[in-house]
Amino acid sequence: MAHILLVDDDPLVVEALSDAITNKGHTLVTAINGKEGMKKFAEGVFDLVITDIVMPEKEGIETIMEMRRLVPDVRIVAISGGGRMGNVEFLHMAEKLGATATLKKPIRLAELYEMLERCLANSPEA
């Protein structure tokens, strides 16, 4: 079983993903923005971080970069409902800047489980 940090500002998204993840027996800590996410990230040790990109307070790209600085080998999955600035696709950018994987919302259940399996496969605790 893995210990996962989920960061997303949308409570319904958090609830849906939490249900799905805990259904698989994983433990979960949630945060509602990048700032809170960073705080929780510093307090614990996580096998995986799932973070949204477009969030108030501290957005996802910055969060990913900061986490990567703190724990270089942390696995991070960036998720986003889309959107871009000019020609820059957020998820594409997140991948370049250190996300292990990306998922576009809405994420299908099967997609999520496949991703968890893939990301946690090499995890020592998995």
Partner: protein, 662 residues
């Protein structure tokens, strides 16, 4: 010649002497008879006693008609009555003298005509009393000449040009008032002075040349030079120098007419400068300058940039009319131009407008034109400044499009983000519920529909997000015929049986560089619109593909112009409702739709336009309300080098691309 009073009494002589005397008298008589001056002898009573041949000729009488007649027969009526008194007075105090001093004397001819005369009176004492021999000279010719001379003198005196006489030594012999006015020297100062008085030192050599020519009897006309005034001022003058000849024809001097052309020269210089300035502006500006005759509407002058813009030489454009360099599509016709000209004429102000122009080779382009009425050398002309604004219009159109797309992009991004966040719990929580339900249950089936709807909704969101991402497509070499055939098979599935689908794909049209997915999207989009335009009625939807050769005239479009290349022409035509002009002009605008709410996004044609422009092509729409609509898409065919370069690496990619399409 006139015998004196003292000689008159002839004494009685001996016969030898008498003979000598007779001879002498005979000689005198003959002398009088043949004298070239008219002579008349009048007796004491005023009767004519003798006339000579010249008198006969001068008065027009025969001798017999005059002899014994009163001398008054030869005097005009108005002087006749006073004459006997004058004659008596002369007889009382006879001495040789000219008659009528201070008065004009006139003789009367037999034919009644009068003529001016001069009379010398010579009293002759004879046995028969005091005779008067009158010598009469016809001076009418002399008087005429004197009159002419004074007339000429008056002309010279009143002439505005300086008229100077000089002899062959260059000494001034005459000096008219204009010469005084011009040069400042009085006649007293000028007469007798050398002509070099008027010549600036550096031009002294001219005088020798002039004199040399004059001596040869040649005339110098309008020789432009500089002469100097008394006050040292130098004047630009034009000289006309003519030789003056003696009666024998020998040149003795010259008359010089000197005209001050300082002002004329300045005006001419000003004109030349102005013309030069005009010419240099005319040639130097980047804008085309066209001058057309207001009456005929034909060009009378065109500058180099103007002619080049239209692919002509300036000479070739002279006499062309506006029609021949306009697209000819209303309102860009001769009549349309006439309206603008009329507007400029009535308002008196410059008129500015865009014009769809046609070059010599048939190329169409947009020009911005300013026209104004002007008068040049008394001719009413239309002055037009012309700029090729094809690029500007294209950029403007692209910018408008880009701004709209950017706005849409931003909007779409925001909307997509919100919707996807909402769809996330809808889909995933439903899936979680389904996972807990027994397989094949009614609820599983129902909730699966909810998931499907959610997924479909997310796909729509994805499509909105994809809007405006034309820059992210990959262009590869495509057989355009193949692309169209594949799209047709899809179009068939969306075409109801009430609509006849006609397909006409020409063989081997060729290849283009493009994105198959995008082009298929365009075709399906146009076909969907065509289907909707026909609606529930019976109609025809035609799709055709052909090739437009280099030699064929290129069509214009609302935005953009085609380069002279080979094109694949794809048309989608329907027999539907058609559009009015206003609608046709707006169809490529994002969010513009004629469809009912919920039936269309208003993005289809905007996307179509963006895609085709991205392919270097143009879209043209021809529509008439009630008669259907035809969209024509012109896509540049790939060049040979593009094809060969692309063939090598395309194998696998092409297949990948095929899979991705639809």
């Amino acid at each position: 010649m006139t015998p004196s009073k003292r000689e008159a009494p002839i004494p009685e002589l001996e016969s030898g002497q008498a003979q000598a005397l007779r001879k002498s008298e005979e000689r005198f008589r003959r002398l009088i008879e043949f004298a070239p001056t008219a002579m008349i002898m009048v007796g004491p009573t005023g009767m004519i006693e003798m006339v000579n041949i010249q008198a006969e000729q001068t008065f027009g009488y025969d001798r017999a008609e005059l002899l014994g007649k009163a001398v008054e027969i030869l005097i005009p009526e108005r002087y006749k009555s006073g004459h006997p008194t004058l004659r008596t007075a002369f007889v009382a105090n006879p001495e040789s003298r000219p008659m009528g001093i201070g008065r004009d004397l006139y003789g009367l001819r037999k034919d009644g005509s009068e003529f001016a005369i001069e009379i010398g009176l010579n009293p002759i004492e004879t046995d028969g009393g005091m005779m008067v021999l009158s010598t009469i000279i016809d001076i009418s010719e002399r008087r005429q000449k004197a009159l002419e001379a004074s007339y000429l003198a008056a002309i010279i005196d009143s002439s505005g040009d300086a008229i100077i006489g000089k002899n062959l030594d260059g000494v001034i012999t005459s000096w008219n008032p204009a010469a005084e006015r011009l040069f400042g020297y009085t006649p007293a100062e000028a007469l007798g002075a050398h002509i070099s008085l008027l010549i600036p030192p550096q031009r002294l050599h001219e005088e020798a040349v002039i004199l040399e020519q004059i001596k040869r009897g040649e005339r110098i006309r309008n020789f432009e030079t500089v002469r100097r005034c008394k006050d040292g001022r130098e004047l630009a003058v034009s000289l006309t120098v003519s030789p003056i000849r003696e009666t024998g024809g020998k040149v003795v001097g010259a008359s010089k007419i000197i005209r001050d052309i300082t002002e004329h020269r300045q005006a001419a210089e000003k004109l030349r400068l102005s013309e030069e300035r005009f010419r240099s502006i005319f040639g130097a500006v980047a804008e085309g300058i066209f001058i057309a005759d207001a009456e005929t509407g034909r060009f009378v002058d065109v500058n180099e940039p103007g002619a080049t813009m239209y692919g002509y030489t300036p000479d070739e454009m002279i006499n062309l009319d506006i029609e021949s360099i306009s697209s000819g599509v209303a309102p860009y016709t001769q009549e349309g131009a006439a309206e603008w000209i009329q507007r400029a004429a009535t308002s008196g102000h410059a008129q500015q407008f865009d014009w769809h122009a046609k070059a010599k080779d048939g190329r169409l382009f947009w020009a911005e034109i300013s026209i104004r009425f002007a008068e040049i050398s008394g001719r009413r002309v239309v002055l037009a400044i012309v700029r090729d604004v094809t690029d500007r219009r294209m950029i403007e159109a692209q910018l408008r499009q880009a701004l709209k797309l950017e706005a849409i992009g931003t909007l779409a991004g925001g909307v997509a983000h919100e919707l996807n966040n909402l769809l996330q719990p809808i889909i995933m929580m439903t899936e979680l519920v389904i996972a807990d339900l027994p397989d094949g249950s009614r609820q599983t089936h129902q909730l699966t529909r909810v998931v499907d709807a959610g997924v479909k909704a997310s796909e729509i969101v994805q499509r909105i997000l994809a809007f405006g991402r034309a820059d992210e497509v990959s262009h590869i070499i495509l057989d355009i015929g193949l692309v169209v055939r594949e799209a047709i098979s899809f179009i068939r599935t969306i075409t109801p049986s009430t609509i006849t689908l006609r397909v006409d794909i020409a063989d081997s049209v060729g290849t283009i560089r493009g994105d198959k997915t995008q082009l298929t999207q365009v075709l399906i989009n146009l076909a969907t619109n065509a289907r909707d335009a026909i609606g529930a009625s019976v109609g025809t939807l035609s799709v055709s593909l052909s090739k437009l050769g280099k030699d064929l005239p290129l069509p214009g479009s609302d935005v953009g112009v085609l380069k002279r290349e080979e094109y694949a022409v794809l048309t989608v035509e329907d027999s539907g409702t058609g559009m009015d002009e206003e609608t046709a002009a707006r169809i490529f605008e994002p969010f513009f739709t004629t469809k009912a709410v919920g039936k269309g996004t208003g993005l289809g044609l905007s996307v179509t336009h963006g895609i085709i422009t991205g392919h270097g092509g143009i879209v043209r729409v021809d529509s008439e309300q009630g008669h259907g609509t035809r969209f024509s898409i012109y896509l540049p065919l790939a060049k040979d080098d593009e094809i060969s370069a692309a063939t090598a690496k395309q194998g696998e990619r092409g297949r990948t691309n095929d899979r991705e399409a639809w």
